[in-house]
């Protein structure tokens, strides 16, 4: 078939592996298809006010993370000294927000670190964990779900038993054990989260793929001789994309919450500052009992803001994908 149609354009150009010329054409078509799908999704999403506000909050945090070195007055893990005498600040410096004349907007921690700078740099850790974990969990989950749903049978059975097993693992305890085994740093926390969290995306995408598989356009592609991979990537994937995004945005929220929790317990990365490690330090130095709220209130507010934005974006998306909820 491919040889006869090399010269002229046919309706099958996206199905066979033709000459290089057609190859380029194929890539363009794929790119255009994905671009259109993405633009369409974006337009539907930004229709609602709460979603717009949430996107604004996320964008603001992204900017803060990118320009952290410009915004933060000190490196987050640089000890501050009193005056010129070179004495480490004793106990902690009060925040200049409350009238103290020392230039530390939110004061310093008991170890002598500037709290405001830590807060700014903490945005980086939160976004990094959230985005990387979400991209991988949604990506792996979608791929596994599509493969399981499309092939069915033994492949489906095997993959879904793995998912069932993962559902039997309690999230936080598992991440804690994994981080204890692998070593406490940010990458291992992200890795542990990815290992566990793709389970929910996989389950949902699989059930979607199961019903998509029976649709006429998939049957038509099969009859036309399209490869399995072609059907999965070009016919199924664009149709489950809204679900992938939905679980991706929830994934950001869950990952940030989990990282905060693990760090709070004391298994955070000792060389990076995150909002979770800030809370852990404030607790270790009894900031609660001393009423040093400027130390432990701001990180929690940041976590809450970022997470609720993730949930609201997800919910706005859910209403598009499932009009029944409206």
């Amino acid at each position: 078939m491919a040889q006869e149609e090399q010269s002229g354009r046919s309706i099958f150009t996206d199905l066979d592996d033709g000459s290089t010329n057609e190859q380029v054409d194929k890539w363009q078509r794929t790119a255009r298809l994905w671009k259109e799908t993405l633009i369409e999704q974006w337009k539907m999403l930004t229709d609602e006010l709460s979603v717009k506000l949430s996107l604004f909050v996320v964008a603001a945090f992204v900017l803060i993370a990118i320009f952290a070195p410009l915004i933060a007055p000190y490196p987050p893990l640089q000890r501050q000294y009193q005056g010129d005498a070179g004495i480490l600040i004793e106990k902690w410096a009060d925040p200049s927000l409350l009238g103290a004349d020392n230039g530390y907007l939110l004061g310093t921690t008991a170890e002598g670190f500037d709290i405001f700078s830590q807060l700014v740099y903490g945005t980086r850790a939160a976004l990094m964990v959230g985005l990387i974990a979400a991209v991988f969990t949604a990506g792996i989950g979608t791929l596994v779900g599509l493969v399981a749903g499309y092939y069915g049978g033994k492949v489906d059975d095997a993959l879904m038993r793995v998912v069932d097993f993962l559902y039997g693992m309690p999230l936080l305890p598992t991440v804690i054990v994994l981080v204890a085994v692998l070593g406490p740093n940010l990458w291992n926390i992200i890795l542990a989260l990815i290992i566990l969290q793709w389970r929910s995306t996989a389950r949902v995408i699989r059930s979607q793929a199961l019903s998509l598989r029976e649709r006429p356009f998939v049957k038509a592609a099969e009859v036309a001789g399209a490869s399995d991979w072609h059907i999965i990537s070009r016919h199924l994937a664009p149709n489950v994309l809204p679900m992938t995004f939905l679980y991706g945005s929830f994934g950001i929220a869950w990952a940030i919450l989990a990282e905060a929790g693990v760090s709070f317990i004391g298994l955070g990365d000792p060389n990076t500052v995150s909002w979770g490690t800030m809370l852990q330090a404030s607790r270790a130095y009894s900031a609660l009992q001393f009423g040093a709220w400027w130390w432990f209130v701001p990180p929690g507010i940041c976590i809450g803001l970022l997470v609720i934005s993730g949930f609201l974006i997800g919910r706005g998306y859910e209403e598009i994908t499932n009009p029944k909820l409206q």
């Binding site: 204890a180 809370l279 609660l288 809450g304």
Partner: protein, 325 residues
């Protein structure tokens, strides 16, 4: 496929999942960097003493022998002895699990009673300001980390106002004759109040949102119109006819959520220094006491797995429309 074979297959799956969790744990703890025996024996011991201790824990045997023994012991729920205190792990679990269960169940029952009621109301009064505010409250409750809410509650009501105790389950020095005696003492209830409320606030959002969307679905069905035509009171329709039919997803979700609640007890117990099984697991992991870490982890995972199983079976009994194929 009939119901009976579904139950059999599901039971088999339960056993396989439990075995897989056990195996993964066995592997993980033996992959921990460093020699596991170094946590048990100190360098000052004589060679002979070292050897004896290592042998008494069975750590000198080849890995596959250890694994078979581990599985054998798992079947009879014997998790070995703590490296730290030398207590049998089952005894450690028996000490801490009831504390977790009391806290979780209190919070859970309160959260589901209030959450379901609010869910019914917000589904019924759809589009009102009441509905919007409950949904936003539910979302907020699930977005702010529970341990953070716990910290703030401790700061305001514990440190500043001094109306709740700062940590623990009972005041120092209190002696109680038995577990139930303790549970019903005023001192215990004072300690229970804050963590239970914080947890309850967090748990509430889930049944509320599920109940709401399930109500929306039921309210669009014909029998509701029939109820109206019969001239039934609004409240009778709302609670007796609509809510009862909308309950099903909440009931199964509750069983699953209870499992994850016990499994996720780690943080709230750490914040309030509640001597529960989640906090004990973390402490065991941090001090590399892996028999205890292993045992407590298996209890947390088994709770989830078994309640998932119960939810699956319950679904068939509660909803006669379910078919097994």
């Amino acid at each position: 496929m009939g119901k009976a074979s579904f139950v059999v297959r599901r039971t088999l799956q339960l056993v396989v999942t439990l075995w897989a969790v056990g195996t993964v744990l066995f592997g993980l703890f033996r992959l921990m960097p460093g020699d596991p025996t170094s946590y048990v024996v100190s360098s000052q011991m004589t060679q002979e003493a070292r050897r004896q201790i290592i042998e008494s824990y069975g750590l000198n045997e080849p890995l596959y022998v250890q694994y078979i023994k581990f599985l054998q012991n798992l079947v009879v729920l014997d998790f070995g002895q703590s490296f730290h205190s030398n207590q049998p792990v089952t005894q450690v679990i028996a000490t801490y699990l009831p504390n977790t269960l009391v806290l979780m169940l209190t919070a859970f029952i309160a959260a589901y009673t209030i959450g379901i009621t609010l869910g019914v109301l917000s589904g019924w009064y759809r589009g009102s300001r009441f509905e919007r505010s409950t949904v936003i409250t539910a979302l907020t409750a699930r977005s702010v980390p529970t341990f953070y809410v716990g910290l703030i509650v401790l700061w305001i009501f514990g440190a500043e106002l001094g109306v709740i105790p700062m940590s623990g389950m009972t005041s120092l020095g209190t002696q109680n004759a038995g577990f139930w005696e303790m549970v019903f003492s005023v001192d215990f209830l004072q300690h229970l109040l804050a963590p239970a409320l914080v947890l309850g606030f967090y748990f509430m959002g889930y049944p509320l949102l599920i109940m709401r969307s399930s109500m929306l679905e039921v309210l669009s069905e014909d029998f509701i119109d029939v109820c109206r035509a019969k001239g039934l009171k609004e409240r009778t329709i709302m609670f007796k006819h609509a809510a009862r039919n909308a309950m099903l997803p909440v009931v199964t979700a509750a069983a699953i959520a209870l499992g994850y609640a016990v499994g996720g007890s780690v943080l709230i117990e750490t914040v309030f220094a509640w001597p529960g099984i989640g906090r004990e697991m973390v402490r065991a992991v941090l001090r590399r006491d892996f028999p205890v870490a292993q045992g407590t982890f298996i209890v947390l995972a088994a709770t989830i797995i078994i309640l998932n199983f119960v939810a699956d079976l319950a679904y068939g009994y509660l909803d006669p429309r379910v078919t097994y194929d």
